[in-house]
Subunit: 243 residues, 2 copies
């Protein structure tokens, strides 16, 4: 596991080279185009997503934001408070976009009526577009979501708290589209979808390596072209077979 060592050493190395923060002496209050509070949130988002909660320190986040560590505590009370603020910040945006996209689809599904693939694509679309086209902040945010989704102990509860209402809306829609589908099969199918979606967000580089460069997990067009069809087939296979 050499890569692990490298990643960690890189982090340690960064922490070593001090006195390099580009602070302007004559302008202590709210610098650049974002407030200091937002700059700390942005840095926390990027670094927590990359190294996890325990793998990153308040000092390093503050340093990356060009702020003092004490300022992070001033705004967010604790390291956990900072993490929570980061996780919460963009959740509402995703939820709203997903909900609207699904409503739009069911109210006008096109000729032939609503399909599982159509609804799943409507569910996936907004998050995938923010992920691929929303800039580095959104990329980092979804990587953080991936991390939390796979975290034992508190990961499930946290995901539930922020995202479950929208998921229930998706399940409800699929329940109508696949008549007779049992709830257990619908929930298991979503479980599988959730795993694939967050692994995509994680961007661990495994797919790229495994495929010898043929496939790239960051390739938005490639995911978008396959994902809804793949999972719709899975949903229908087990819901129809077991109904």
């Amino acid at each position: 596991m050499l890569e692990a060592k490298d990643a960690m050493d890189a982090r340690v190395r960064t922490a070593k080279k001090r006195e390099a923060a580009p602070r302007r002496a004559g302008r202590p209050k709210s610098c650049d185009n974002a407030s200091m509070r937002e700059r700390i949130l942005n840095a926390g988002e990027r670094l927590f997503a990359r190294h996890g909660f325990h793998g990153m320190t308040v000092r390093e986040v503050a340093k990356a934001a060009g702020a003092d560590p004490a300022l992070a505590h001033y705004y967010f009370k604790s390291k956990q408070g900072l993490f929570d603020a980061v996780f919460e910040r963009r959740a509402a945006v995703v939820n709203k976009a997903r909900m609207e996209s699904m409503e739009r689809y069911v109210s006008d599904p096109g000729p032939g009526g609503p399909t599982a693939e159509g609804l799943i694509d409507a569910f996936l679309g907004p998050a995938m577009e923010l992920w691929a086209k929303g800039g580095p902040g959104w990329k980092a945010y979804f990587r953080l979501v991936a991390l939390v989704n796979n975290t034992p102990q508190w990961g499930g509860a946290t995901m539930a708290k922020y995202f479950d209402p929208v998921i229930q809306r998706l399940i409800e829609g699929l329940r109508k589209i696949i008549p007779g589908a049992k709830d257990a099969d619908l929930y298991w199918s979503y479980h599988f979808l959730s795993g694939g979606l967050t692994l995509t967000f994680a961007e661990t580089g495994r797919l790229d390596r495994l495929s010898g460069g043929i496939s790239h997990s960051a390739d938005y067009e490639a995911v978008r072209a396959r994902m809804a069809a793949f999972y719709a087939a899975g949903f229908e296979a087990i819901c129809r077979a077991r109904r």
Copy 2:
């Protein structure tokens, strides 16, 4: 994110109450039925799986094993060395079982010849059985695999190092079973499967909560009854449509 706080406080609390290690004074060498080295590995497996690399300390692992922190360094040189040893220990067993299971299937697939569902089930079977019936050590190990699989930076490389040859065997088999399938579609399909499998291993409790108690991610029979059929349908859907 209250659960996060709770989980962490629990860990901190544990670290507080000292002088409670049940060590027998008259028997310092290799205690109980496992060697001290193995006891440390077992404790590391359980605790790294639950809290991640950065979320657990060498001291706590040693304490849980009933050993001295210095002993962990004696055996494994560093915290990273201990983690690597844990991750490596069971990988060969899984790989061998998976490979044999797939060879057994392709050499005698039953009437009608080999199917995607059959091969995927042969691939999934051994790991799922070890996970469900191999005891707490195996449960913890697979939770650790789930964690690594979703770890940015070094997760992909680590997974590749230990597991990719067997995955390539699976892809190769599916390539024959689904004639004309493009490699990119096969690799993307495996990517989706990998996400669902490791999310199952992670046992975050999310499925249980989301389904209101209808489905449980630890329910071996339930996963086994659905997983191969679900992913076989996905594989075939995108490989056939895009060939």
